[in-house]
Assembly symmetry: C2
Homo-oligomer: 465 residues x 2
């Protein structure tokens, strides 16, 4: 009796596993057909590129709190409505208001070897300005904070020049960035601690060019704020060689940067309501603010238009998943992250539950996969869909970061995922005058939007571990 029971049970399990396997296969095939359709539509008639043209060419750059940021918020709201998104609304976020002002100038004074020479510089984001006549001081070159500390009293009254190169040999340029960016973010604090009066920081790029790259620095309570500017890599090389020749060099730095009172701003949110589990959300996002250089095309106009376009594509194709899809344009990623924090706070306070958040904030380049902030089963529950992306070579789904804006959501338990584009070109444009619409390729941008649409759609249907 027991044996017959067991045999029957085993048979039932076997049959149901087989049936399940079959329906699983069929579901995977059905998703493949839908993925094909999404890629086809994106390449043939996707609108991300034209959205980006509007954002970058009619508004341009849009630092938090600026009039252009306000224009971008209204643009995003109208664009979401135009794309057929539902429940389009704004979420209040108080943001800092830093302004560069008209003056950013650095000049080598009376070098014995080259005389007087202008340097290609720009203020780092959040930097204070200099007195109007500037700060004139001797320059000391360093490569790391140990060297700064070792200077001790010799740093007093000097300009510290951080010149450790961005490693060129990293295969992924973000690794090179991570290895160099402490100089930009903490260089002013470390220099101030030993009495320096200003800092110059080699630009965060593996290239040799004459374009300074801005980006945020951090000041620290209790440490004197000193002005900080990025210097182009070519001028960093030049300044370094002048220092070697002359032994000592004086530079005058003039910056008009300042911080004004905080301003009311907004995250912009739109949805495609889920059919079966509408109170659970899969979020797609990018950040709407940019630095006040170029047009913020790759960083992160691309992520914004891809997120809107992903939902528009699904709506156009009648692909509405079980859970709700939500596009969020975060404000203030570059100098405060207040949009991402405010958003997560509101989710923590009153929901809805966010099972997944996918951010695109690595530029509008050719997608090669996704990074998932998890491993084990949780990673595998995303990686099992990689076959949907292999037709465009975007099937590398592996452990990695999600994105700055969705970091606070991740700390609430949301699985965060970052779109992973090919990284080689990113730091040519990042935070510079070169980050303009013309630097973005239509097909690469649209394929990123399609990839986000496909992953969001399948995860909103199937969930994650």
């Amino acid at each position: 009796m027991r044996t017959i029971f067991h045999r029957t049970l085993a048979l039932i399990i076997l049959v149901s596993a087989t049936l399940n396997g079959q329906s699983n296969d069929e579901a995977r095939k059905a998703y493949m057909k839908e993925a094909n359709l999404i890629f086809d539509t994106a390449l043939e008639s996707g609108r991300a590129y034209e959205m980006l043209r509007e954002l970058t060419k009619t508004i341009g750059h849009r630092l938090s709190g600026s009039p252009q940021a306000a224009a971008a918020i209204e643009w995003a709201r109208l664009t979401m409505i135009d794309a057929g998104l539902e429940n389009v609304h704004l979420q209040k976020v108080m943001v800092p208001r830093w302004v560069r002002g008209p003056v950013e100038q650095a000049r080598i004074i009376n070098s014995p070897s080259i005389g007087t020479e202008e340097l290609s510089v720009c203020a780092l984001g959040r930097s204070i300005g200099t007195p109007e006549q500037g700060i004139t001081a001797e320059v000391i070159e360093v490569h790391d904070f140990d060297q700064v500390r070792a200077l001790g009293n010799r740093a007093k009254g000097k300009i510290i020049f951080y010149n450790r190169p961005f490693s060129r040999k990293e295969r992924n340029t973000f690794s090179g960035y991570r290895g160099a960016v402490d100089q930009r973010s903490l260089g002013a604090v470390e220099a101030a601690k030993v009495g320096a009066v200003a800092v110059l920081v080699r630009s965060m790029t593996p290239n040799l060019d004459d374009v300074p790259h801005t980006g945020a620095l951090r000041y620290q309570d209790g440490v004197k704020k000193i002005p900080a500017a990025a210097i182009s890599t070519m001028d960093a090389e030049m300044l370094s060689s002048v220092l070697k020749n002359d032994g000592s060099v004086r530079v005058t730095l003039r910056l008009s940067a300042k911080t004004l009172p905080d301003v009311m701003s907004y995250n912009v949110i739109g949805e495609l309501k889920g059919t079966d589990i509408p109170d659970e959300v899969v979020l797609l996002g990018g950040h709407l603010d940019s630095w006040d250089k170029g047009e913020g095309a790759h960083d992160d106009g691309s992520g914004c238009v891809q997120s809107i376009e992903a939902l528009r594509l699904l709506k156009e194709l009648g692909l509405r998943p079980k859970r709700t899809l939500r596009a969020v344009m975060f404000i203030n990623e570059e100098n405060g992250l207040r949009g991402g924090r405010t958003y997560a706070d509101s989710v923590a306070a009153s929901g809805p539950k966010h099972i997944v958040a996918i951010e695109s904030d690595r530029g509008g380049f050719m997608p090669v996969g996704f990074t998932v902030s998890a491993d084990g089963d949780r990673l595998r529950s995303v990686a099992r869909w990689s076959y949907l992306f292999s037709q465009i070579g975007a099937d590398r789904i592996r452990k990695g970061g999600g994105g700055a804006d969705i970091g606070p959501l991740g700390r609430l338990g949301t699985l965060t995922i970052g779109l992973l584009p090919e990284s080689q070109r990113y730091f040519t444009y990042h935070h510079t005058d070169l980050d303009v619409f013309e630097a973005v390729d239509r097909r690469e941008l649209e394929l990123g939007a399609a990839s986000m649409a496909i992953l969001a759609y399948v995860l909103a249907n199937e969930g994650v571990r």
Copy 2:
């Protein structure tokens, strides 16, 4: 006895297989270390980008038989010597000499809906010119040769306007190109057969822009030669809509293109002599000629500098393989392929034996793998090295084309391989004024050179099936 013998034999086979497996593993690890070193060096101090800057900025475009082509040949010879290549020499090739001349103009005449309007056009390569006053005729739009044939007598005295779009939805843009390019290459012949007097061909790009794309057409013995021009995709759309509005439209086409007598030109060849089997060759190549638009940066300045740089990298690193490596800059790929044919003829006549030829002629974009003109064991003998390229995502080694210049070698039995870069951006630049140095990314170009160096090195050591 038999049993003991068999057991012993089995043991010997097992042990030797294990030892062989170990040494195989070790060889594969050693190659991995060398590949790492090559990638490191290429990213840190590769010279392909600076070579390309010289070729494009001091010489520019270089159509076969032009003074600039002669300059490029001398540049390639000197650059090879400078890179430390051995046995640098020229191989004579008679090439055609087609010149565009100063006039290329097309104008809609007296359209009821838009009046007179200039169209953005350029002569197709090899096209004859028009009489000085131009050809003025009614335009008939078609999408394929069946439609042309169906026109019969109605085509007589008309300008045939080929307007079948380049498919945007192909994942690899070369598929879109293959699906549209018959209009450019054979459109004039098919139109002439039914009595047309000229053709306009929609430019070969998935983008909508105002840049005409040139490229070769073929005439056919016994069929009257008629002039042919490419029209930008935006003006093709415009002309098509004017035709719809007005029913019939007249266009005046003026081209000053002509073919002059053949000119003596050269392939440029340099080597790294092999250590053990120097009389067998692994070839790396690109084509030195370009269309007379832009600077021929992606097509194919990139392939040329990558081939020289691949050998320079190996030489710098002291990685000299068993077989000889040879870099070849082929002349006349664009309008004749005489460089590739002459080269293969000389190999057929007097060797040396070429076991592999690798061409880079799909632009200097991010490498994603290689295409191999073989399948089965022969393909696998290349694909087994894919692990060397996965660190940069260039491990897609699959069946596909080698390259036009090495096609004639392939017919002699050489295994031909094409470097496979990401294709999304190629047809934005292809055969236009936009194909300039600034469209090439340093890191992407250098990674292509490194990939070619690695594959050539390992195949020159290990051979292929």
